[in-house]
């Protein structure tokens, strides 16, 4: 059985937010809820990196550990899902999650939390696959249709990959091998050249005058 994973290649992500849009469109997510977002490290500085992040479907999921009603469950494919009928909207998963994945549509006054919403790896919820009710609560169940998550499918640079962890590992290993000369040398400079360096120029060579900065 496949173990589903997301992988975002920071050397390829160009912060287009296509994954965010794809996710919103696919699941008809309400305003104010973002199951996925793109964060840029060192924005505006040469060497910035962007990463698309959503629920990472952890093996030892903190949300599962702290949920007071035990509404989370893990599918055979390693996808962490939750039952909105059981969720009480306490916000503990939101405190515990390192990635800021759990979202709360603010339904009441004073920020009263509604049912938690998060990335489902396009795997729906406990309702019958592809049912009306499942779509209303969790969005499309693409996995049941034999498709991979919409965000990863949409990614133009194929920075964001979603699927069986073994397959993703093979793809990423191949990328790293092509980029550099071993696992320790992957990086922006290998893929796109150093700052001020024409692409394809060997790294370590002197940067040209007035080059990219």
């Amino acid at each position: 059985m496949a173990r589903m994973k997301f992988l975002c290649d920071a050397e390829r992500c160009i912060e287009c937010n296509g994954c965010v849009t794809a996710c919103k469109q696919e699941h008809e997510i309400p305003w104010g809820v973002n199951r996925r977002r793109v964060v840029t490290v060192n924005d505006g500085v040469p060497g910035e990196r962007s990463i698309s992040v959503a629920c990472m479907h952890c093996s030892d999921a903190p949300c599962m550990a702290v949920c007071p009603v035990d509404c989370f469950y893990k599918t055979e494919e390693g996808v962490v899902l939750h039952d909105k009928d059981l969720c009480i909207g306490c916000g503990y998963c939101f405190y515990a999650c390192p990635f800021g994945a759990p979202q709360f549509p603010q339904t009441g006054a004073f920020g009263v939390r509604g049912k938690m919403d998060k990335c489902t790896f396009c795997a729906g919820g406990p309702e019958a696959n592809s049912s009306e009710e499942e779509f209303r609560k969790y969005g499309r169940n693409r996995l049941a249709e034999g498709k991979l998550p919409a965000c990863a499918e949409m990614c133009a640079t194929k920075a964001l990959l979603g699927g069986d962890g073994d397959v993703l590992a093979d793809i990423y290993r191949q990328r790293v091998t092509v980029r550099g000369r071993g696992g320790d040398v992957w990086g922006w400079a290998t893929a796109y050249g150093q700052p001020g360096q024409a692409p394809g120029q060997a790294p370590g060579q002197a940067p040209a005058k007035g080059g990219k900065s």
Binding site: N42, V45, A65, C87, F99
Partner: protein, 343 residues
């Protein structure tokens, strides 16, 4: 010549980095410094991304076009700390609560109710005014509601869920959560009133030390004179009502109103403090409820009707009884209405 060009190129690059760092909307002075270090490292170790991941792991704010609370934090490390603190603390708290209940049961079996030695005189003394009783019972009802719902939310997953199943427990938890969140602000309003109202009777004085040294005669059965409130009650007042109560109110408000954009870390700290204070308060209230009901006949009637028998007053709060008898406390000593007299 070539060397000169190299140097000029390097200088240009350096100035460009500085300019970029200065212009960047997402970087302040510290971040700009980090970025500069990163740039230097990109020259010396061209293929090393390690600083980027260190920065991400530190929980520092980054940039994102998705607007919202802390959406610019890629990884918040505090969540793991919160989980690591909360889970064992809740376990310890649960066992502490059970141990308290068992200890009270043990005390009851060993000592039984603390009954009067003398015969009731039938003459009643006013112990609590109507206002005091109304405030006490408002606090009592809200506190017990909060305590029970808090226990359901904290320990229900381990205790109730296996017994009643997911659907039923979820319903119970939804009711508990809403009761907890809506009754909480009531306590925030009435608790300060109670503190002000009962503060004077709970100020410590020299007599309390005597009472404390003898443990109030709770274990020995010895008669120890006390003021209107004995030292045990005073300690309970200052620790449970004032310190724990106010702590619960403040942390509770932080957790109850997440609409002020408080960060997750603020709420995590508030949650852990709320958990500790809540368990301690519930434990102390259990002891208070025990002594105010089955543990000591007459105590519950004192708070329900406001009157106690003279014998009860003499045996439990002798100094206060003497003061009342001497007319030193004018508020007390009203003629008891007929309905409050024992048959």
């Amino acid at each position: 010549m070539r060397r000169m060009f190299t140097r000029a190129g390097a200088a240009l690059l350096a100035s460009a980095w500085l300019a970029a760092a200065a212009q960047s909307p997402a970087v302040d002075a510290t971040n700009a410094e980090m970025a500069k270090q990163q740039q230097a490292q990109q020259l010396s170790q061209p293929l090393n991304n390690q600083p980027v991941w260190s920065e991400v792991r530190s929980g520092a704010k980054q940039y994102t076009s998705i607007k919202g609370r802390e959406t610019d934090v890629l990884i918040q490390p505090e969540g793991q700390t919160w989980r690591a603190a909360r889970v064992p603390l809740a376990t310890i708290g649960g066992f502490l609560f059970v141990a308290t209940l068992l200890a009270l049961l043990g005390f009851y079996l060993w000592r039984g109710p603390i009954r009067l030695r003398g015969k009731p005189t039938g003459r009643m003394i006013e112990r609590f005014t109507l206002v005091e009783r109304v405030v006490h019972w408002t606090v009592a009802i809200t506190f017990v509601t909060l305590g029970v719902t808090g226990l359901v939310l904290t320990f229900g997953k381990s205790v109730l869920l296996p017994l009643i199943g997911y659907t039923l427990f979820s319903w119970l938890a939804i009711i508990a959560k809403n009761l907890h969140n809506f009754v909480g602000p009531v306590l925030v309003v009435v608790l300060p009133i109670m503190i002000v109202l009962f503060m004077r009777a709970n100020l410590f004085n020299a007599r309390d030390w005597e009472w404390l040294k003898k443990g109030g005669g709770m274990l020995t059965g010895e008669h120890v004179p006390a003021n209107k409130a004995n030292a045990g009650q005073k300690i309970l007042f200052w620790s449970m009502v004032v310190v724990l109560g106010l702590t619960l109110c403040v942390t509770g408000l932080i957790l109850d109103f997440p609409n002020f954009d408080q960060t997750r870390q603020t709420m995590q700290i508030a949650n852990v403090v709320h958990l500790i204070a809540g368990v301690l308060a519930v434990v102390m209230v259990s002891a208070h409820i025990y002594l105010g009901t089955v543990g000591m006949p007459g105590a519950y009637e004192a708070m329900r009707d406001g009157y106690v028998d003279e014998t009860w007053a003499k045996e439990h709060h002798e100094y206060w009884y003497n003061e009342v008898k001497a007319g030193a406390i004018p508020a007390a000593g009203h003629e008891a209405p007929m309905s409050h007299r024992p048959a």
